[in-house]
Amino acid sequence: MSKTITIDGLTVPFRDGQTIMDAALASGVYIPHLCHNPEFKPHGSCKLCTVNVNGRNAASCTMPATEGLQVLNDTAELNDERRALVQMLFVEGNHLCPSCEKSGNCQLQAVAYYLEMMSPHYNHFYPTREVDASHPGILLDRNRCIYCELCVRASRDADGKNVFGLTGRGMATTLIVNSASGRLGDTTLAVTDKAVQVCPTGALMKKGLAYTVPIGRRIFDHHSIKDVQTGGGHE
């Protein structure tokens, strides 16, 4: 007999060492998430994947699955709270979807659709953040960074380069790159690096590809992020 947990009443099997998120994804159960990418070590910062486990909230991407856990996921209350978190991410940065090249392929935007976010609700912070276009093949627009550290993890763990990191604290948190000049162009980052592919938003993008796929024909224009990330819904 394999071990199981339940998610919203559904019995979901898991193997030792798996998190609740791992088990859910393996069974095609969608838990909203942004900082999690199954290819990398769980991080636990966005908190979108928060579920209720035996009566207490926990981030499902970092919480180990153990026998018999009763998990609540798709509830009105949790989705309300997740929506508030997405709204927070929108107002703390400068996310101008209509003019963003990532629109339609952006997970932040897609999860906002999924959670039926109709307005940013909170007042925008309009922070001043730096754009770095010094790299010939890659654009870093910090206005869209949500500090998920996926690029940090990918560069460190997959590319073996440590191109990215965070500095500052609290609201002053900033994404930095590994060069004395502070410029992306002076790092060892290559266009083929994993770190360039993992950004869930439009903060890190390859240059020269703008609008090769027109708006309206991009992935989340046709599929819910739920279907894309659980491997379902691709007709």
Partner: protein
């Protein structure tokens, strides 16, 4: 600005780098010294340190940017940081800081034009019983008033080195007004270790268990259980069990002396006058769990204690109470190293503290695993509060039953309380658990009619005068030790704002709800303060509070709304008297924004207004 190829910088840093060696866990300690030497951590120093330690530059820059006492930009030969706790504010801190700025011709938060001096605020420096307080280049200044600031301004203008300033400026009193088993009884160094060795490690753990000692750092976890978990933990890394020493995994004992909760200063007094008791408790813990190495994580604000603490450690080594073969026991070696923090409240959270000990940004880890199984360098680690270790030493010396006979059934022993605010005798009071708030207020000479008490600092509970019969105990009012008293007619909304600012400033920024939520909370209180708040803002505060409490990664975020909502619930007038009558007012004034357009078009008719 220093560059890494500037010979001046390299000359300045070489002795620091050589002293610390190439151990990356020393990173924060190195950067502290760089800051002292350069009055900032310049970009060139980051290059040099990264090269010396052979770590990525981003890691060094990431650490340098995390801690408040490290600055990327020059902070001046004299850096003054005023303690910004609400108790300092009630003693006139804002006016005094402005007074000094005027005298020195500087703006708060800015470096003077000649690069000589900067003046700014910092989080509570732990001198609430002798405030208003400040730090000059990290050294505490107490009892500030206009006369002292006149003198300080003169010393700065005449460029007198801080080391040569009159010692009376730096006097820190213990202010113990009531002592009991920790502060009121003599302690013979070595007594607790001797008792432990005579009784045996297992038997000492049994005494700890019997004592029912619970952690004094806030969470109140039973200490004996924590030690037992650590002792039993098997350190595993991918690929197998770790064996560091003699077939055993290395284990660590960490004393949490970060004491960052505003209004708390009891660990300061324990370390100043009872350090033997604390180190002895750590040594007893080491014997019980089988650790050979310990750390004292001392908050940067208490660096003035460093030298005397090192002297106590040295004396203990010479007396055979620390180091190899303790008291001649060939199988018992344990030593303690002191690490300094650098201005980050979050580093009091045990897993963030461990990250900081490893020389990293103080970001709380994902749990499980907990530090008792995977702590410092992935090894089983006990993290306990200063006072917890002091209690442990007494228990080892006198037995668990003796300790359990003090206090209440669920909260055994005594508790050190740091009392400040509107009282005649601020300072330290040690009571058996179960004492009522009213008793404490009577003993410390609470001025006039006390109105509210903030128990356990901003992350604790605000109680009103209706609740003064409540007891200090885990089962009623748990506390890490702070008690801030507010008399009648104090504007508690200012306390709420001060605390909200504190959390926004100290949020580590790792998780969304706290990084953004503490800012939103702060902004709403600012809106109310400026007279634009409405009833809907109060609802928004409650909703935010719920998200902070239920979605945050660690205790900082989950308690960041406590004082804001407690004061709102218990003293609604404090908020409501500041609200506009309307149910909703946008933070953005639409009609006001149209003013420019009206001017340009020369219109002021009804249709040109909203």
């Amino acid at each position: 600005m220093y560059r890494s190829d500037s010979p001046g910088l390299s000359r300045l840093l070489t002795p620091i780098l050589q002293r610390h060696g190439r151990d990356a866990t020393r990173l924060l300690q190195i950067l502290r010294e760089v800051q002292d030497a350069c009055h900032s951590v310049p970009a060139g120093a980051i290059d040099l340190v990264a090269a010396h330690l052979d770590v990525p530059r981003v890691n060094v820059e990431g650490v340098a940017g995390f801690y408040s006492f490290l600055s990327a930009h020059p902070a001046g030969e004299y850096r003054l940081l005023f303690s910004g706790n609400i108790t300092d504010q009630m003693l006139g801190k804002d006016e005094l800081m402005q007074y000094l700025c005027n005298k020195l011709w500087v703006e708060p938060g800015r470096l003077s034009e000649d690069g000589l001096v900067s003046v700014d605020s910092t989080s509570c420096t732990g001198m609430c019983d002798q405030g208003p307080a400040a730090l000059v280049n990290g050294w505490p200044l107490t009892n500030l008033d206009h006369n002292r600031l006149d003198l300080i301004a003169e010393l700065i203008r005449s460029r007198k080195p801080v080391a040569d300033w009159p010692p009376m400026l730096f006097e820190v009193a213990d202010n113990v007004h009531r002592g009991d088993v920790l502060l009121g009884q003599p302690f013979e160094p070595g007594a607790a270790i001797r008792a432990t060795l005579a009784r045996g490690a297992k038997e000492t753990l049994a005494e700890m268990d019997k004592s029912n000692l619970r952690g004094r750092g806030g969470a109140g976890f039973k200490t004996a259980s924590k030690w037992a978990f650590c002792h039993a933990a098997i350190a595993e890394e991918e690929g197998g069990v770790i064996c560091d020493v003699g077939g055993q995994p290395e284990r660590f004992i960490v004393c949490n002396a970060d004491e960052g909760e505003p209004g708390t200063f009891k660990d300061r007094v324990l370390l100043n006058s009872h350090a033997d008791l604390v180190f002895e408790g750590m040594t007893v813990g080491a014997r019980v769990v089988g650790a050979s190495k310990g750390f004292l994580y001392l908050r940067g604000e208490y660096r003035y204690l460093l030298q005397q603490l090192e002297a106590v450690l040295k004396r203990r080594r010479e007396a055979g109470l620390l180091g190899g073969n303790i008291l001649g026991q060939t199988d018992f070696s344990f030593d303690i190293e002191i690490h300094l923090g650098a201005g980050a409240y979050i580093c009091g959270e045990e897993s963030a503290l461990i990250e900081s000990l490893e020389g990293k940004r103080g970001r709380p880890r994902n749990r499980p695993p907990f530090p008792v199984t995977r702590g410092y360098k992935g090894r089983p680690t006990v993290v306990d509060n200063v006072e917890t270790f002091a209690c442990a030493a007494r228990i080892a010396e006198n037995g668990g039953a003796w300790f359990a006979s003090i206090g209440t059934a669920q909260s055994t022993g005594t508790k050190l309380l740091s009392v400040s605010g509107d009282v005649a005798r601020p300072g330290i009071y040690e009571y058996p658990f179960g004492v009522t708030v009213r008793q404490i207020l009577d003993d410390c000479g609470a001025q006039g009619r006390s109105y509210a008490v903030q128990v356990s600092g901003p992350s604790g509970t605000t109680i009103s005068w209706k609740e003064f019969e409540r007891k200090i105990a885990f089962e009623d009012l748990p506390t890490a030790g702070a008690l801030m008293v507010f008399r009648h007619r104090r504007d508690l909304f200012q306390a709420a704002r001060n605390f909200a600012d504190f959390f926004a400033h100290e949020s580590c920024g790792f998780c969304t709800p706290c990084r953004v939520g503490t800012q939103l909370q702060k902004k709403i209180l600012e809106k109310i303060q400026s007279g634009h708040g409405t009833a809907s803002d109060l609802e928004e505060l409650k909703r935010l509070g719920h998200i902070l409490k239920t979605m945050s990664h660690c205790g900082l975020g989950s308690s960041a709304a406590n004082p804001v909502l407690d004061i709102l619930e218990k003293f609604p007038d404090m908020y409501e008297s500041k609200l506009k009558a309307f149910a909703f007012e946008p933070a953005f004034d639409l009609d006001g924004a149209l003013e420019t357009a009206r001017k340009i078009t020369g219109r002021d008719d009804e249709w040109a207004h909203l």
